[in-house]
Amino acid sequence: MEENKPLLKVQDLKVSFFTPAGEVKAVDGISYTLGYNEVMGIVGESGSGKSVEAYSIIGLLQDPGKVTGGSIEFEGEDVLAFTPAQMRQFRGNKVSMIFQNPMTCLNPVYTIGNQLTEALTCHDSSISKEEAKKRAIEMLELVGINNAEKRMNQYPHEFSGGMRQRAMIAMALICSPKLLIADEPTTALDVTIQAQILELMKSLQKKENTSIIFITHNLGVVAEICDRVTVMYAGRIVEQGKVNDIFYRPQHPYTKGLLTSIPRLDEDGLERLIPIEGTPIDLLDPPKGCSFGPRCSQCMKICLREKPPFAEVGEEHISACWLHFRDGLPKGDEV
């Protein structure tokens, strides 16, 4: 990891959806950096803004979503200032993406080969047909698809779910991008296939030296593949740190809640799962203080009044919670 020169630098990014009911702040000021060859997991429940944040990096925000503030820098270039043509060159070439549902993400009326080679030819018009085809076959073999040459001429409906996700990965990596954004790539697959795909992504990441942003709500997947983890809640980062710190030394009450709500195989099986009480906040009308405050068992007065700042709780480990500042709070605020 080249500490001083990050691949991706997101600063105070804000994304809002302008709906008839009002502005929904889906992402409300998040900052992080991602190094070369690093795998970062972004964890959070539905609606926490984790996908929206990723989509804004690659310029795929759907109407009425809009980036309202902050900056995204990719290798020093300002991604948000790209013209549509620059954005098009950027997508698929330097950053590519794989999605949640491989069943619907491939075009049903074109062959796998056609869709794979298209990813190449739309960035490099000088590449010959044979060359593109050769490269596509190589990629299919790389992601573990047998009979690649025959498979090239098949349609997506002739592939199983796991195979389709493999093909998607091949398509995403065919231009050797520096960053791969994986938006819940294993969620729609059954568990054995999930493990295979994760294994594949892990080995490809090492082989191709691609950085990965791995978006998921599945903490097990995060532990499997990520170097660093960002935990999001209601459009903000609540905790960020190395994967071991997050799992073994979680600091934020939300992260702690997430960890106690998943079943574990390595402990005596009869332990109770503790769900996080309540429901996520209404982003149309967010609370003034900490977004997690209303659901937090350790909520203090100040939590409902002011948003918590980040506290450095360890090496490269930050957590946004007033509990870390408890000692310094004025009297009456710490209850």
């Binding site: 098009r88 997508r91 298209e118 990813a119 960035h123």
Partner: protein, 313 residues
């Protein structure tokens, strides 16, 4: 594929037989007779009916039709052009060709204009272009052909004198313009509407997002990825369109005085010219059945997921 086509052709013959039976029963259910005029006496009618075999029991008459059709004999006209073989009326007097020419032009126009219009409307959804097209296509679907045809005739032929009022046997390109517009306008608008909906649906599919994430150019996104996926509903609609264009051409052929099959078909029903009714129905049905086959084969070409033959168990 060959086996499939053969199977379909066999099925088509069965359908045509059924159509013959139904047509025969229907035309005999209409009161009246080809020989019924104010001056004719019952004896004269009976005599004429005996001459053409119309006094025989219905099943015998039907059987005669089927027998003759099998050897390509479509009978002779009783009334419209007495004594002329029906085959000559339909094929050799250019009626069929005239209607087909007109229908084919209208179909091509409807497809070539309707599909792009639908794509444009979907691509610029919500903009003034979409709004304008929506108004235009809604009007086009709502205005009856006879109103449109009359309007075009009055404005462009009578007032502006740009096009002939009588198109006749379509001697030149100019004479095609107004009939083809009248005939195709409804279908153009309907196809555009259908295409817009279908395209909008396709644009929001996950594979479009995937293609975008790959960095595919916008026009390729629409013309390659979205278009082919959104064509199925339009192709489905094209089968009935053909039937509509051929039979619906009656109004247009009458308005522009074109001696085509559509007009003739209605006239022969009115004068109870049984053999001509039968022959026109069968010929038009065969045409529609053939087009349906083409449509089904086109499905397969557009969408590889569609299988024409039943899957082996």
């Amino acid at each position: 594929m060959v086996a499939y086509i053969l199977k379909r052709v066999a099925g088509s013959i069965a359908i045509l037989l059924l159509i013959m039976v139904v047509t025969f029963l229907l035309m005999n259910a209409i009161p009246g007779s080809p020989f019924l005029t104010e001056k004719s006496t019952p004896e004269q009618i009976a005599l004429a009916e005996a001459k053409y075999g119309l006094d025989k029991p219905l099943y015998v008459q039907l059987w005669n039709y089927i027998k003759n059709y099998c050897v390509g004999d479509l009978g002779t006209s009783l009334k419209m052009q007495e004594g002329t073989p029906v085959k000559d009326i339909i094929f050799h007097q250019g009626k069929f060709a005239l209607s087909i020419k007109l229908g084919a032009c209208a179909l091509v126009i409807a497809v070539l204009i309707g599909i792009p219009l639908g794509c444009i409307a979907a691509y610029y959804r919500g903009s003034w272009i979409d709004g304008l097209l929506r108004v235009l296509t809604t009007v086009g679907v709502a205005v009856p052909t006879f109103v449109l045809a009359a309007l075009l005739l009055v404005v462009f032929s009578v007032n502006l004198n740009w096009f002939p009022t009588l198109s006749g046997s379509l001697p030149d390109a100019k004479s095609y313009v107004l009939p083809v517009i009248s005939l195709s306008f409804y279908y153009t608008c309907y196809i555009a509407k259908l295409m817009r909906t279908s395209m909008l649906d396709a644009i929001h599919q996950d594979y479009i997002r995937t293609a975008k994430a790959k960095g595919v150019k916008t026009h390729i996104l629409v013309l390659k990825h979205a278009l082919r996926n959104s064509l199925i509903p339009v192709i489905t609609y094209l089968g009935p369109v053909l039937a509509g264009i051929i039979t619906g051409s009656f109004v247009v052929e009458s308005t522009f005085s074109i001696p085509g099959l559509g007009k003739y078909f209605v006239q022969c029903v009115l004068s109870r010219d049984y053999p001509v009714i039968m022959a026109t129905t069968v010929v038009l049905s065969a045409l529609v059945i053939f087009m349906m086959l083409i449509v089904d084969i086109t499905y397969k070409l557009v969408d590889p997921r569609i299988t024409l033959t039943a899957k082996e168990e």
